[in-house]
Amino acid sequence: MSQLIQHLINGIAAGTIYALVALGYTMVYGVLKLINFAHGDVMMVGVYMGYATAMMLGRQARGSVGGVLLIFLVAMAGCALMGFLIERFAYRPLREKPRLTALITAIGISFTLSYGFQLDIGFLPGSAPRAFPQVIQPAQWFTLGDPEFPDVVLWNWQVISLLLAVALMGGLQFLVYRTRFGRAMRAVSFDHRVAALMGIPTDRVISVTFMIGSALAAGAGLLYAIKDTSVSPLMGLYVGLKAFVAAVIGGIGNVPGAMVGGLLLGLVEEFVVGYAASTWRDAVAFGFLILVLLVRPGGLFGRVAAEKV
């Protein structure tokens, strides 16, 4: 029983992070109908930005609330800028081209970032994983059973990431459905040409969507790095893929769907690791994806659009 509770806690904690990364995918897909394959790698770069900031701050400042905020802010702002640049120079020129073109470009950017960061030239960090500093001092907020060797542990960072994720998702839901900008986003998503005719600055809306998505990725990446206590150039490839799986499971383009998909994926993976074998984790994630897609091609919350002839 206590084992089950522990797995539930871990699964939800992992799931919130997937969900946060998945939100970025979902927003970009919703507006542009583009699978931004580079999303996970933007996240990785954000984590390195946070890492560099934390290293510059030094040991004392890292534990403080201000220090943590600064680390998150730098990483998120840096990623927002990067998202803007990628959209402006790689995706925007291809907007009227077939969708496959943009997908291939995204894969190219993903490769450039993740393998570029593996090089050991100049400021690039090299391929070895590095220990991520303890930005949030880990503490057990809740234990069950023997205090020395508790059966169930709830860590402070798990609660913090869950709260942060819920807050960000709530904010996003508010942004999309309750603000003028959100209405513009939905209009662009529906038909960007008509939206442009109606006087909506589509380019600006798409840019801002990219920036928000990339900033979210950086935030999620930092939470992941705090959980995992390491950074490596290839982390983006696999976390990004998992998050994409989560987004598709929930129905890509759907904000609550991304959250549910992320949580489901986190739980499924955690239970596989806990009750079966950890080496099967990746296969189960993709198997789950294929199963969901075969039963409901639009994802759990998605609707299958009627095909235009």
Partner: protein
Amino acid sequence: METAIDVSSSSRVPASLRGILPVLIALPVLLVLELLLRDSQFTSYLLCVMGVNVLLAVSLNIVNGMTGQFSIGHAGFMAVGAYIAGITSLALKDVAISFLPVAVSDQVLLLVALLVAGAAAALAGFLVGLPSLRLRGDYLAIVTLGFGEIIRVVVTNTQAFGRALGLTGIPQTSSVAMVGLWVFLGVLVARRIAGSSHGRSLLAIREDEVAAEAMGVNTTGYKVRAFVVSSFFAGVAGGLFAHFVPIINPGSFTFVKSMEVVVMVVLGGLGSTTGAIVAAVFLTLLPEAMRSAFSLVGPESNLAQQVDQIRMPIYGLLLVVLMLARPQGLLGSKELWDVVPRWLPRRRKGM
């Protein structure tokens, strides 16, 4: 889109010969090549790598280029082929066909292993092709990626496949002639498909699936068959690969390997068989050229050590630049002989 199919049948070659003429020309060339390269191990190794890459690119082109079903899990089929061929060869290790010389007997056994590997990969391709009945575009891409990863995880967890350590002791019997033979067969089949009514159905699916369906093309059947043919050759390529590297392990067949093949197909031009060949050869030689170039700067230079890593970001940038500057790839959907200058004697008919 313009395609390179010309069905005019005026030819100086008698019809009965036309089918086997390429074989009659190719076989002696391959055997001579094999004899010439007997002593230069590095050249033959490079040729084998090149051949495997060409076979992978040409086979992926059948699915990605001709059918327009964007598959990014090709390394998975290669893995199936490599492991099945490896296991078959290990099982046949002590067998020798007594009435044949050892070298020939080796090649026959290799051929058996490759055929088994191709069949197994084709079966996997059939299974992956089935979801393509319901999924298209980006979703299909991600499902093929998922299948590739699942195959890798299954291999990593199976005792018979040596888990993460992989298979060792596979006889190193891949020869330039055998690789060349399969490259030749792969290219021949790809060109034959492109020129047949089958191929035109694939092209119709690529251009507009709904319209093709409305015109009476059995889209699901053709898509699954394209997957089966493509993965058969990917499996053979994997089998050939397993028989010239000393060890195969799951690390050789990751997402990254799939992307390498995608880069080859995209660079050459989606739908162009000769484009895929040119791109595969170019991208195989590129790291070697870079290694030599960096070594000239300084033999112990940091760059020369990192060529294998530098290669990957270059592939990435290549994709981005290509999509921005020339999204149809080097050759588009044309073949090499369609783009030769006007004053050269032009090829007049399809193969």
